[in-house]
């Protein structure tokens, strides 16, 4: 069991109507608030009006239109407002994209250069304005972590950056905000959660027993509740467990004592950077093919643990057992309605090579669970076609 730091200090307010706590949570942080949000969904479901009413005593500025796979162009806009208006708090109302953009905006407010610098090199991140979030999607875990992923479509780059100061001060997690999500987003969000778990679970360190059991607990929650949420979008129990799974899957709890060995995210970021596809869909497509590719003498035992503890598979032959679990994973994503081939999301063979090269060039894959080179990544991507 490796040494670790765990300090997920976000004040989580989870449940129905918790948004009422917003004024009390923001007041100690400042009066001048930049409210960041995405498309029009929070206007349609009344959340926009609710937040504005609650913050009547604050001076609220707005940045609307943050995209899925949030773009550095939106971040730059937000930073401009912060500097011009001396913003004190950044309030993200939305999913992971909105929250990620808000984090880099909050850092950019205290940085003199182009905020893209902070994405490329997190050593340049200094002071960060406090970030508060109202979560509307169960997926990225950004509501309780130090990560942000920003895309630059000019350079075809989608890069992660992180800072301990990015961790939101408080997050409102109200599962009823998920009721109106389209099925495709519920499914893709769940795939994202599961991928976060896999990226930490499949790792060489075997002695972090609690961390592995926690990971399996969250996987079981996703497998149990995503189909329910798809059938009954306003099933509170299902939405609540998915929302809490998303937060716990990536607040560093699952890397305690073992770290992470991120592979699928490194590959998927290239797909999104070139084709702007839904992150969770890309992950769902890649994951089972990656699992099959890396199944070997070293990894089969871990896959059997996964099979037994998550899927209740009792098959005794190790490889058969492992493959049954991998098939179950792929079938689960397909049953959730996720397009499970690259062709279905408009990706053909033409850029596989360059995307694989980029994924490997950025580092990380050499130290993944099973080390991958360009040829390996191309083979995995071809299996995804």
């Amino acid at each position: 069991m490796n040494n670790f730091r765990f300090n997920a200090y976000t004040d989580i307010r989870f449940g129905k109507n918790q948004v009422e706590a917003l004024p009390e949570l923001i007041a100690p942080l400042g009066k001048k608030v930049l409210m960041v949000y995405g498309g029009g969904s929070i206007r349609k479901n009344g959340l926009y009006d609710k937040v504005k009413t609650l913050l009547a005593d604050f001076e609220v500025f707005e940045l609307a239109g943050v995209e899925p796979n949030p773009k550095i162009t939106s971040v730059r806009e937000g930073v401009k407002i912060c500097k011009k208006e001396n913003i004190e708090v950044v309030l993200a109302v939305g999913g992971g994209s909105t929250i990620d953009a808000s984090k880099v905006i909050a850092a950019g407010a205290n940085y003199d250069g182009d905020p893209w610098d902070l994405v490329v090199d997190n050593n340049k991140i200094g002071k960060v304005l406090p970030v508060v979030t109202v979560l509307t999607l169960a997926a990225t875990g950004s509501e309780m972590n130090k990560n942000a992923v920003i895309s630059n479509m000019e350079t075809n780059e989608k890069l992660g950056t992180s800072s301990h100061n990015f961790i939101p001060r408080a997050s409102i997690c109200d599962p009823t905000y998920l009721f109106s999500l389209p099925a495709s987003q519920t499914a893709a969000g769940t795939a994202d959660i599961m991928s976060h778990i896999f990226e930490q679970y499949f790792q060489h360190e075997k002695r972090a027993f609690i961390t592995d059991r926690f990971a399996e607990s969250l996987l079981k929650a996703c497998i149990k509740y995503c189909p329910i949420a798809l059938k009954e979008p306003d099933n509170y129990e299902a939405r609540a467990n998915l929302m809490w799974a998303s937060t716990q899957a990536l607040n560093s709890l699952l890397s305690c004592g073992k770290g992470g060995a991120w592979t699928c995210h490194a590959i998927e970021h290239e797909l999104s950077a070139y084709y702007d596809i839904t992150h969770g869909v890309g992950l769902a497509i890649i994951t089972p093919r990656w699992m099959r590719y890396i199944l070997n003498e070293d990894t089969v035992e871990k896959f059997c643990e996964y099979a037994k503890n998550v899927w209740d598979i009792t098959e005794e032959d190790p490889y058969k057992c492992a493959n049954m679990a991998i098939d179950a994973t792929e079938n689960f994503f397909r049953a959730c309605g996720i397009p499970m081939t690259l062709k279905e999301v408009g990706i053909d063979e033409s850029k596989l090579q360059v995307m694989a090269e980029n994924a490997v060039r950025r580092g990380g894959l050499m130290n993944a669970y099973v080390s991958l080179n360009v040829e390996d990544v191309v083979t995995i991507l071809k299996a995804c076609l």
Copy 2:
């Protein structure tokens, strides 16, 4: 799934040699430190010298001799030092008793009256000096939570108090500090951890799926690793998993979405208040008898869940299945070397009635998993004789 707040903001530094981070962690909080500790064990194992050396640049005052079941008399001594020396940070080096005492000392420093008032009525707790801990026992979870339990032997009271401001700012959790623990403390500490889990797990709210799976994960860790730690006191993997289980079992993670329904603690506090026995031992004695007593049509399903998910019991008859799990629990504690009757710890029938009356009078038991009156508690305690 009930609404909840989760804000366990402690900066956990877990692993070998993490104590080196102490100066960096304390520096932002102040220069004048009250170091609180218990008996001489930290002098024997070198931790006392290590901490003093690390804090050479700080002004360190000391309060030694905090007892197991920490007494209000020690708290009063600590408060005196804080007020006289204008202490800025309270550093607890020890187990839950030392940490609990430190929390109330840190609150008492900012309170004009007798600190016992803060135990009796937590509404009187105002500002609290920052508390930092170096943990030397896996048991109470005090290193990451808002609770403190203090005993007053003059009034035969052992009472819990709590404040969000009690949560330690940082805690050093180095599993190697557990290597020198006597077997009796390892076992009693594990019983304490397991009781914390039971008190939250056995509850009516059934929809907090993730929370229940997390609870089972931690129980499995205790069941797997306590026997290993007893046989091989310096087994790092075993000590590390027990230490992390202790922290996670009572940092409010296991009450997310379901709260707690504390029963055995309410009863055990009376045993400790009258007989000053080891808390974990009292809990181990009471727990299986309590489980048998409350097993009924309403609770049998939960006990079967416990049987299946924690003990891998596959018996189909529900009551048989539940009783097998309860027997397994009792046998586990006995196999760990814990004295499993009240007689063995010097308690006879003479005070059962008054202890039961006190336990019920303090409230709580009426709202427990299964509501208990004085007669119920006496029956449970008699079964413990």
